[in-house]
Amino acid sequence: MQIEIEVQGNTQILKPIGRIDQNTAPAFQERLLAALENGPDNAVALDMSGVDFLSSIGLRTLMIAHKNCQANGTRLVLFALTPVVREVFSISRFDTVLRCFDERGPALAGLSV
């Protein structure tokens, strides 16, 4: 799976492209968890604008990421969810667990809070 990475200070902005499903989730998970390894001084923003489909295995990856963050203090936000992914977040109530923003600016600002 293609993932674009941009570094801004101690924040990594990850932009996965395409579907996060059975085939692509393992690679996505590996990259995401690696980015989350550094602890409280580190922050990760997930740009979701390139993800047009997210199956439950993808939700599971985000859940593992969320738990890792809770354990090691890394901060994680998501932004620019596509309509289908937004719908999946709403049905699964993941929108109540993960911090989601419409746009990049407020998401990055949200990381410092």
Partner: protein, 321 residues
């Protein structure tokens, strides 16, 4: 086979509130839009054919109890939640006190919401009736003795008139009861719970409640996909949202509509029935969850795969396979 839901609620019985009754009246009057009806039959036709589902139904509030009718003279019932009281009353109407019957119960587990109906099951008080309690738990009798003894209940379990027999069962050791082959599967729940698969004439019904599915547990997922495979109906504990099952309510022993759709898709189940509804949810919320699950199924379905039919259990619902 025919399946009847006598109790669909999880944890604790609930009743519909006055507020929700008024919601439904609003919905009905809005839909009628000033029309008048000459006869009761006209009103009945309007209710059946024109009112929205949510205006004419309530999910109901009895705890877990499902009848599986295999067409033979013996009865099969999954769990003894508060819904068992109404099932028992219907048996008294159908058979009266003089015609002995055989009741086969399959116990998911012995938490109170799954046994609380038994003291209110009239056939248990009548000599001649046979009550067979099939259970994979080591000592189910203890739970029944405790429930029906002082100071919890005035009639002791040991004084019940029917012949009550506890039938030990083991997962992966199928039994034949009332013409159906019954297989059990260990589930993830505090104190263990068991799912049951009933097979007759090439059709299968799976009763799987009080069962937590952990997204990271691949081995268990495969066991369940195998257990559900090609089932005509899967009755599934969808008490919580996926987010709750992986955060606040992790290890509380229940599952979500998302896990339900995923397992049913992978196992090529024909029909999913959302079950063990959260007692804190009213009709509006349960209806919303049902519609969201139908949408999620559509979003997640592989191109070309058959549609997984999604229903939400309500007391009184009957499904024929």
């Amino acid at each position: 086979m025919r399946v009847k839901i006598w109790g669909c609620r999880g944890s604790l019985p609930v009743a519909m509130s006055t507020t929700r009754v008024r919601d439904k009246l609003q919905m009905a009057l809005k839909t009628a839009n000033g029309r008048s009806f000459a006869t009761d039959a006209d009103r009945e036709k309007f209710i059946t054919e024109e009112l929205p589902w949510a205006a004419t139904h309530t999910f109901g509030g009895n705890t877990s109890c499902v009848q599986i009718d295999t067409g033979g003279p013996e009865y099969i019932i999954c769990d003894m939640g508060s819904g068992l009281r109404e099932f028992g009353a219907s048996m008294m109407l159908a058979h009266g006190p003089a015609k002995p019957q055989i009741y086969n119960f399959f116990m998911s587990h012995l938490h109170w919401d799954h046994i609380m109906g038994f003291p209110f099951f009239p056939p248990a008080y009548i000599p001649g009736n046979k009550v067979r309690i099939h259970s994979c738990h080591p000592d189910p009798r203890a739970a029944f003795l405790r429930q029906q003894s002082a100071p919890c209940f005035p009639v002791n379990f040991e004084t019940l008139g029917a012949t009550i027999e506890f039938v030990p069962m083991r997962p992966d050791d199928p039994v034949t009861v009332a013409g159906a082959t019954v297989r059990a599967l260990l589930q993830n729940h505090e104190g263990d719970s068991y799912g049951y698969r009933f097979k007759k004439d090439g059709k299968s019904v799976v009763y799987s409640t009080d069962s937590e599915h952990k997204p990271e547990d691949d081995a268990t997922r495969e066991r369940f996909i195998d257990f559900f495979r090609n089932a005509g109906l899967v009755i599934f504990d969808a008490q919580y949202s996926l987010a709750e099952t992986v955060s606040l309510k992790e290890d509380w022993g229940h599952s979500s509509n998302i896990s339900a759709v995923e397992l049913c898709h992978h196992s090529r189940t024909e029909h999913l029935l959302l079950y063990h509804h959260e007692p804190a949810f009213d009709d509006n919320m349960l209806y919303r969850i049902w519609q969201e699950t139908i949408r999620y199924e559509e979003l997640m379905r592989d191109g070309g795969a058959p549609v997984l039919h999604v229903s939400s259990a309500y007391d009184g619902l009957e499904i024929v396979l």
